[in-house]
Amino acid sequence: MVAFLIRRIGQSIFVILAMAALVFLGVFLIGNPIDVLLAPDADQIERAQAIERLGLDKPLWQQFLIFLLDLARGDLGTSFVHGTSAVGLILERLPATMELAFVALTLAIVVGIPLGVIAGLRRESWLGRTIMTGSIVGFSLPNFWFGIMLILCFAVTLQWLPAGGRGPTGSLFGVELSLLNPAGWPNLLMPALTLAIYKVSLVIRLAYSGTREAMLQDYVRFARATGLSPQRILGVHVLKNILIPIVTVLGLELGSMIAFAVVTESVFAWPGIGKLLIDSIARLDRPVIVAYLMIVVALFALINLVVDILYSVLDPRVRLSDTGN
């Protein structure tokens, strides 16, 4: 287990370094930051001074090392637009996005697993067919358009829910969260649903195929033969086995939710890191884009690591085959 952990953490660090190199090359070589930073009427001497001050006259590998050192210190420059630390800006907005992603993830599990299991058990019934057809519609819905339709329906026509923004929040250890303040829940509902809809479909499909396969297994037949109640077979034996792929996929999908929050946050004016990224791209706020990418990459590496460890805890077969190498 320790060898597995060490190797797995090494892989995560390699991923972060590789992405740091890609981000560095992509962002710092394709555009010249001098053109953005200097006034258009700056003369050659000012230009040369700025190049020296920013270290752009150094060889590339030295610049990359400096970038890595800054990265390790958590300093990725100052936002051109906001005038404050780029990393600070991201960290300030990260809780809003994480909260949205976690609520959406919870929705996906709470709604998706029961529907998928029902569809898997009653495959030929109209209910099962409706659920599975519905999941294809959920897969196909363009996320941003679904959000707009929700606004049109519940905010414009029915006027039950606010059309956008985060609303009131409660504070926990200095982190602002909507979940802690019931007045903020209506604001959270539509964005979370929009973000969740694709994952609900995904969970339905996973739970459906998992249930179908598990019901044919010998252990289910034996459990039936020993006279266990259907509830116990389903709740203990089947569910445990279908949870393995769902945990893995959802863990990995948490990363994609954080990325997809870019779309949802833009539609609902949700003040998270996704909206910040889109605004920064529109305004060419390079330090913020770099900070977003590096923080998200680190977050993904962390999520993948946790999922792998969880997976080996849930399914001992994985651990055995992995340390065997």
Binding site: V15, A18, M19, G26, V27, I30, G31, T133, I136, V137, F139, S140, L141, P142, N143, F144, W145, I148, M149, I151, L152, A155, V156, A163, L252, G255, S256, A259, F260, V262, V263, S266, V267, L277, I278, I281, A282, I289, L293, V296, V297, F300, N304
Partner: protein
């Protein structure tokens, strides 16, 4: 077509060719048939768009700002009927949607075809040669697939700038890895078979074994992935254009039409965002249903 395939089949067994049997199986589901019909109609409509729609919404001489924001079914000052209304610039929504659909199919199909070619080449090379080539290619694939497609496309477009060609580049860059992984899985199994041994013993060149013998036997899962990826690419293009990093506003795109309608959603002008979205949903849904049926038919595990 049918004449030729009948002759090609061995006369002793039965007249049915594999393709004919497959087509008959496909027709077993009326939903899948309807979806296929919708896809064909939509492609035809998008190709014929300039001929069948009432106006060219991207020709400034044909639109009038005085006709802007007309509700569905209203008539212009010259008495022209706007079935689905007009947008803020006086464009006929129906015409703009069909033009947008054409771009959707173009971007979806071209990017999928290019990504397929690149992904298949790398994936099958990884499986056939193995060793260091395999581990290098698959490490890049794994690295890329650990990041969501939307994020990679977004960042690429932020660097490259707007444009249809750039959207295609970004979509190819995010899609190729799926094909590489899919075909590698199938090819690893296939290359253990006797016919590959036989081809190798005949000292055929590697490219001939790969493309003439190995590739055709690895196609079924690719067909499924490619079908669903066309839908995925169409959805991504619309999303990126909606976010303002996709195609420039001078081009017709369903994502841009919806983004434009989004501005007027709070004032109750629903038709500018609702109808392009419905068309987008219909397109993606129909392609996904076709892909779903193909997967059911081509997946041997589900054949009971």
């Amino acid at each position: 077509m049918s004449d030729l395939s009948v002759k090609a089949a061995p006369p002793t067994v039965d007249i049915e060719t594999p393709f004919a049997r497959f087509a008959a199986d496909y027709c077993g589901s009326w939903i899948a048939m309807a979806a296929l019909a919708i896809v064909v109609v939509l492609i035809a409509v998008s190709l014929l768009a300039p001929l069948i729609v009432p106006q060219n919404p991207y020709d400034l001489s044909q639109i009038s700002i005085f006709d802007n924001m007309l509700a569905p079914g209203e008539r212009s000052m010259e008495g022209r009927l706007y079935l689905l209304g007009t947008d803020d610039q006086g464009r006929d929504m129906l015409s703009a949607m069909f033009y947008g659909l054409k771009l959707s199919f173009f971007v979806g199909i071209v990017s999928t075809a290019l990504a397929l070619a690149i992904g298949v080449t790398f994936g099958i090379m990884a499986a056939y040669f193995g060793g260091r080539i395999d581990s290098t290619i698959m490490r890049v694939v794994d690295l890329q697939l650990s990041f969501p497609a939307i994020l990679i496309a977004l960042i690429l477009l932020a660097l490259l700038g707007k444009g249809i060609d750039k959207v295609v580049i970004a979509l190819v860059a995010v899609q190729w890895a799926y094909y590489a992984r899919t075909i590698r899985g199938g090819a690893l199994v296939e290359r253990q078979r006797e016919y590959i041994d036989a081809a190798q013993n005949l000292a055929l060149p590697a490219h001939r074994i790969i493309f003439r013998h190995l590739l055709p036997n690895c196609l079924p899962p690719l067909v499924v992935v490619a079908t669903i990826q066309v839908a995925h690419a169409i959805s991504l293009e619309a999303t990126l254009s909606f976010l303002g990093v996709g195609v420039p506003i001078t081009e017709p795109s369903l994502g841009l039409l919806i983004a434009n309608g989004y501005k007027y959603i709070l004032s109750g002008k629903y038709w500018i965002s609702v109808y392009p979205g419905l068309l987008l949903l219909l397109t993606i849904l129909a392609i996904n249903l076709v892909g779903d049926r193909l997967r059911d038919l081509l997946n041997p595990r589900l054949k009971a």
